[in-house]
Amino acid sequence: MVDTQNIVSFDELAEKHGNQILNLAYRLTGHYADAEDIAQEVLVKAFKNYAQFKQGTNLSAWLYKITINVYRDYRRYNTRRKTAAHVSLDEVNSNGQVQVPLANDTGNSEQILENEQQNKMLMQTLNKLETKHKVVVVLRVMEHKSYEEISEILGCPVGTVKSRMFYACETLRKMMKKSGNI
């Protein structure tokens, strides 16, 4: 299954890149449980197909690519079920079922609640974008990737990425302005 020259330990892969993949999945889905599912599947797929990874190239970009592909399947499946990816930042906490382990969980409870409310609105707005536009915004604004890196991850020219970025931001700006967020 795995090329002997390209052997990688699953634990090592999960340890090093688990958080990175989970964060991208979480920002794409806005749903922690789904993001964990996606991240786990990405790790399994990456481990299974590690022989296909070209040594010396960007492993992080390869994992991002897999994550985005798995996310596409996830979104398509959810769209088919007519249960569009639901934003659960607020829902999960208020139900008390799953506590999202935030990395920078600081400040008083009121502030946290307010932030969560705001994040929920943002994610809802972001979810209205097409996948190809949403992915660019997430990678650029949230993951702070350069346009060249995004181009490598998505396999399309830098010009296309920039054009998608402008279109996505312009749409987002209009939607946020309409809802009074900016």
Partner: protein, 359 residues
């Protein structure tokens, strides 16, 4: 940098906030933002949006994340993660199924075609080779013309009652259609072993046949020519006897001139002239005349078709008028210029040729 209008500045503002502009462009945007309040507002909105999007917190993996991932790895091939099937085995099965259906369809198609083709072959009693035609007419009309000539050749020249004999027909049409000088040459070859005795074998039979024809009132030269023709074509004795018994129906042969046929001496088509003709009312070549000899006054019907095989006009000649066509259809409307086919039907014999109508 030249000053840009606000619409063109919008993407640059985004990339300025994005910090992906080169210094020269960034400087131009800064300058524009200083002088344009609308764009400054626009840029502020982008900054706020960027700030908010960037403030979405990071998350860390839960304690059970690793264990769950391992569990998924152990349960390979991966099946339902979000409720959909992603097993590669299932994908192969679907492809294999599709391929099998395609293969079955092809096999059925081929079998069906094989079942049909022998019937078609039996319908063709004599194979005919395509004739090379060199006429200055449109390709479609040329093809139709060739097909019509072939069918005419088969119908007239090849007697269907010749058993176990392969006859090869080569028809060649050369020359200019407009000049009406092309001729059709018929070469009939007997290729396989003829099981029946042919006329060639017995000179007595030949003489007897000529005599019998003379006895039936056929002139001597016509009788001799008819029998000679049968010899050339390699007719069997039985066939010759049939000709002798019923000379008017069976001694049909294609003459040397295209479109000209004889039915013994009963009916003789000469030509359709002038061809081309110009029905424009100037009293010059306004009609095309069909010239033939019809001493016994057998019923003749002339039909004119255009090259799409649509009947244009039916002409039934009377004894006192020369049959002609003035270019009109059955509604007395003048037809368009082009190539038309005339079909002259004399009892069971059909004579075909082309007409060019020029305006």
């Amino acid at each position: 940098m030249k000053s840009l209008n606000c619409q063109k500045m919008k993407p640059l503002i985004l990339w300025y906030i994005d910090q992906s502009l080169d210094p020269v462009q960034a400087q131009a945007v800064e300058h524009h933002l200083r002088v344009c309040n609308d764009c400054k507002l626009y840029a502020d909105e982008f900054r706020t949006m960027y700030g908010k999007l960037g403030s979405i917190p990071s998350v860390t993996v839960s304690p059970v994340f690793h264990a769950k991932a391992l569990q998924k790895l152990k349960s390979l091939p991966t099946q339902k993660v979000y409720g959909y099937t992603s097993s590669p085995i299932w994908n192969y099965a679907r492809w294999a199924g599709a391929a099998a259906v395609m293969l079955l369809a092809i096999v059925l198609f081929v079998q069906n075609r094989d079942n049909v083709s022998p019937t078609k072959q039996t319908d063709k009693t004599m194979p005919a080779k395509s004739s090379p035609v060199n006429i200055n007419v449109p390709i479609k009309a040329k093809q139709k013309l060739v097909q019509k000539q072939e069918s005419m050749t088969q119908a007239v020249v090849v007697p269907t009652s010749i058993p176990k004999t392969e006859v090869k027909i080569q028809a060649e049409s050369k020359g200019n259609e407009i000049d009406n000088k092309e001729s059709v040459k018929e070469v009939v070859e007997q290729k396989t072993v003829v099981t029946e005795t042919t006329v060639n074998n017995t000179k007595e039979t030949e003489e007897k046949a000529v005599q019998k024809l003379i006895d039936k009132g056929i002139p001597q030269d016509t009788a001799q020519r008819t029998v000679d023709n049968a010899i050339v074509k390699g007719y069997s004795v039985n066939k010759l006897n049939e000709i002798v018994a019923n000379p008017q129906k069976t001694t049909v042969r294609l003459s040397q001139k295209k479109g000209e046929m004889n039915q013994g001496d009963v009916f003789k088509f000469e030509e359709a002239a002038p061809n081309p003709f110009t029905p424009n009312g100037d009293n010059v070549n306004d009609k095309i005349f069909f010239k033939y000899q019809n001493p016994h006054g057998v019923k003749v019907e002339i039909r004119i078709y255009d090259f799409t095989d649509t009947l244009v006009k039916t002409i039934v000649p009377t004894d006192d008028t020369k049959p002609s066509w003035d270019g009109t259809n059955d509604n007395d409307t003048l037809s368009e210029g082009g190539i038309y086919v005339y079909v002259l039907k004399v009892e069971e014999t059909v004579i075909k040729g082309t007409i060019i109508l020029a305006k």
